[in-house]
């Protein structure tokens, strides 16, 4: 089945989504009646003030969390209806994550970090190596493959994080403030890389960011405030 057809042309479809967190006896409404559609090949920036629910929305789209109410569909799959086990398998197949703090395993070298998602596949060791080499080549870190994260700069660590995110050729790349912990120069390099992945490889990317400079690289920007999305910046 064509993924876009199943979602009325959109790779990501979020409809009437509500997310409520319970803290003690208090209910915190993070997202309310939220709608979003992301077509295949789009590079979407998601902006908003702290606590506006950007990461929560990204987690729902990435299958890391479930909505309190509403529908989340990605690549033709209703995520709100999948079991934990199937959701994990779905994430492995369709989603690449890039985190603000890179979230690399400090005990593994760069290439071993990139290999992690491939451990969940049937690929042989040689095939995994080929994929890892290719992903590291994409991010320009072949020469640092054997280095541990602590010996890499922030920019290099984030590039390893991106290589890990793309190594399985996922349907959707979700980036949570990928330049948030980097200086301007390194941040620009990362944005160049994400832009290239989108333009040259057709990767669909959703990027949460605070930085207007980063969002300017995206093909579309949406703004989240008080649980609602809009196409205009929050005043």
């Amino acid at each position: 089945m064509n993924e876009n057809q199943s979602n009325n042309g959109a790779l990501v479809r979020v409809e009437n989504v509500e997310k409520i967190f319970r803290r003690g006896s208090e209910d915190i409404h993070v997202l309310a009646d939220l709608h979003l559609q992301v077509p295949t090949g789009e590079f979407l920036a998601l902006m908003g003030p702290s606590g506006s629910g950007k990461t929560t929305l990204l987690n729902l789209i990435g299958g890391l969390d479930r909505p309190t109410k509403g529908l989340v569909s990605v690549a033709g799959e209703r995520l709100d209806q999948l079991s934990d086990h199937r959701l994990a398998a779905w994430r492995a197949r369709h989603i690449g994550f890039v985190f603000q703090l890179y979230n690399l395993m400090p005990v593994l070298t760069a290439e071993r970090n990139v290999e992690l998602p491939l451990l969940l596949t049937h690929l042989s060791k040689a095939e995994r190596k080929k994929h890892v080499d290719a992903a590291l080549a994409v991010v320009g870190l072949t020469h640092r493959a054997g280095h541990y994260p602590r010996t890499l700069s922030g920019g290099e660590q984030q590039r390893v994080g991106i290589a890990r995110g793309i190594v399985t050729d996922p349907t959707l790349l979700l980036c949570d403030e990928p330049t948030g912990d980097l200086d301007r120069k390194s941040g620009n390099e990362i944005l160049d890389l994400l832009q290239a992945l989108n333009r040259e490889h057709g990767k669909t990317i959703i990027m949460v960011t605070h930085d207007p400079h980063a969002s300017a690289r995206a093909s579309r920007t949406v703004y989240l405030d008080k649980g609602q999305l809009s196409n205009e910046p929050v005043k």
Partner: protein, 413 residues
């Protein structure tokens, strides 16, 4: 630069494999490919892991030694013949029985034949050089103890030499005795004022591992003639019965035969007889189990704490694993595998050290604990125990890791 690597990545690498990189989450066994990750996690805090490992190693060395001690004390029970009964004086083993009982026992229905032994309690050079010496009837002794092997020509020499004695290989090696040597031994029980001299005419071996090869055996006729007192009396009889399933009935018949006589008897299977000896210093199995229980409980706390800390420290990383597609079950298995690996390495090293050191200790204890060795079954038990230790210490942190919500875990990175 981007154009060059991106084309290569897309055209040569990703697309040809696209359909083959579908995740496989249903491995029949935990795959070896995860070993590197588990191993690296174990090495994360080297000092902490080393100290925990050391405590496990020490626990398993102790397990090895206690198993060897248990083997030494109750191992004879396992070696006891199912078709053999022991008959001793009813009041105590140190009281003697008339040798005339032998013929009466052999007439009892169900008895094949009987022979006897007596505690000699001799000292060779120094009381520390303890080993057992017993006067026996050579032919009957070998008939009833097929697990003891003596070359025929040495048996012949023994029958031809009144002062002849045979010794087990271990004692011969211990004192560097060889055939033809004359051995002086003093016996405080049978006359402290004289020295008994024995000619070594044979060296016996055990047919299987665990056979006691520390005894010195000499002829009863020589002993009976030379002793100062107690002539015509012996320590205990060993009976071979015709049908092992009738052991209890035959034992009753033997004791009934001598009921109300000046020297009543107590007859029991050889295993129970040996157990009775060991029981004089308490319930060995219980003592060993109690010590081991305490040791392993402590280790459980130490290793369990290590694993719990390890999981707490890497909550965020576990969240990342789940985010990239590891299932709850796989994350749980990773933690369990890590604790099992730690326990199995510790167990294996500890058991290997115990196995290497017990023969050295056994030589020092040859007289006191002739059957001191680490039996193979104890190694298997130890290995199983190490796996169990790994599972028990890892199960709670593993469940904790399994239940982690990804979004919560990522916030703790």
């Amino acid at each position: 630069m981007l154009g060059r690597w991106s084309i290569e990545f897309t055209r040569k690498c990703v697309r040809p494999f696209h359909h083959s990189i579908t995740p496989s989450l249903h491995h029949p066994v935990f795959p070896v490919k995860f070993f590197h990750l588990i191993w690296c996690n174990l090495k994360r805090k080297k000092l902490r892991t080393s100290l925990t490992l050391l405590s496990i190693v020490v626990a398993f060395i102790l397990f090895g030694f206690l198993s060897a001690i248990q083997q030494a004390l109750v191992g004879g029970v396992e070696m006891a013949g199912a078709d053999r009964l022991s008959v001793r004086q009813k009041v105590s083993i140190i009281n003697l029985l008339p040798i005339s009982y032998e013929a009466r026992i052999e007439r009892i229905p169900g008895v094949d034949f009987a022979t006897h032994q007596t505690w000699f309690g001799g000292i060779y050079q120094d009381p520390k050089n303890f080993f057992m010496q017993n006067p026996v009837e050579p032919e009957k002794f070998f008939k009833i103890h097929p697990e003891i092997i003596l070359p025929p020509e040495q048996m012949k020499a023994w029958l031809a030499t009144r002062t002849g004695a045979i010794v087990g290989r271990r004692t011969a090696d211990r004192f560097h005795w060889k055939i033809g040597d004359r051995i002086p031994i003093q016996s405080p029980i049978w006359g402290a004022d004289r020295t008994w001299e024995f000619d070594i005419v044979g060296i016996y071996d055990g047919a299987k591992k665990g056979t006691d090869t520390t005894w010195m055996l000499f002829r009863y006729d020589y002993f009976d003639e030379a002793r100062r007192w107690g002539k015509g009396q012996i320590g205990w009889f060993t009976i071979r019965i015709k049908d092992p399933s009738q052991a209890a009935e035959v034992a009753k018949r033997v004791d009934a035969e001598f009921e109300n006589s000046p020297t009543e008897t107590k007859t029991e299977p050889e295993g129970a007889f040996i157990q009775g000896y060991a029981s004089q210093i308490g319930n060995i199995v219980f003592i060993v189990a109690a010590i081991l229980g305490m040791v392993f409980f402590t280790i459980l706390l130490v290793a369990g704490n290590t694993m719990a800390q390890a999981v707490r420290e890497r909550t965020g990383e576990l969240g990342v694993l789940k985010a990239i597609g590891f299932t709850n079950g796989q994350v749980m298995a990773l933690v369990l595998a890590e604790s099992c690996l730690l326990a199995v390495i510790g167990g294996a090293v500890g058991l290997a050290l115990a196995r290497a050191v017990t023969p050295v200790v056994a030589d020092k204890l040859a007289g006191l604990l002739p059957m001191f060795f680490l039996p193979t079954h104890a190694l298997f038990t130890g290995f199983s125990l190490s796996v169990a230790l790994g599972l028990v210490t890892g199960i709670f942190p593993a469940l904790q890791a399994m239940r982690l919500r990804v979004a919560d875990a990522l916030r703790r990175m």
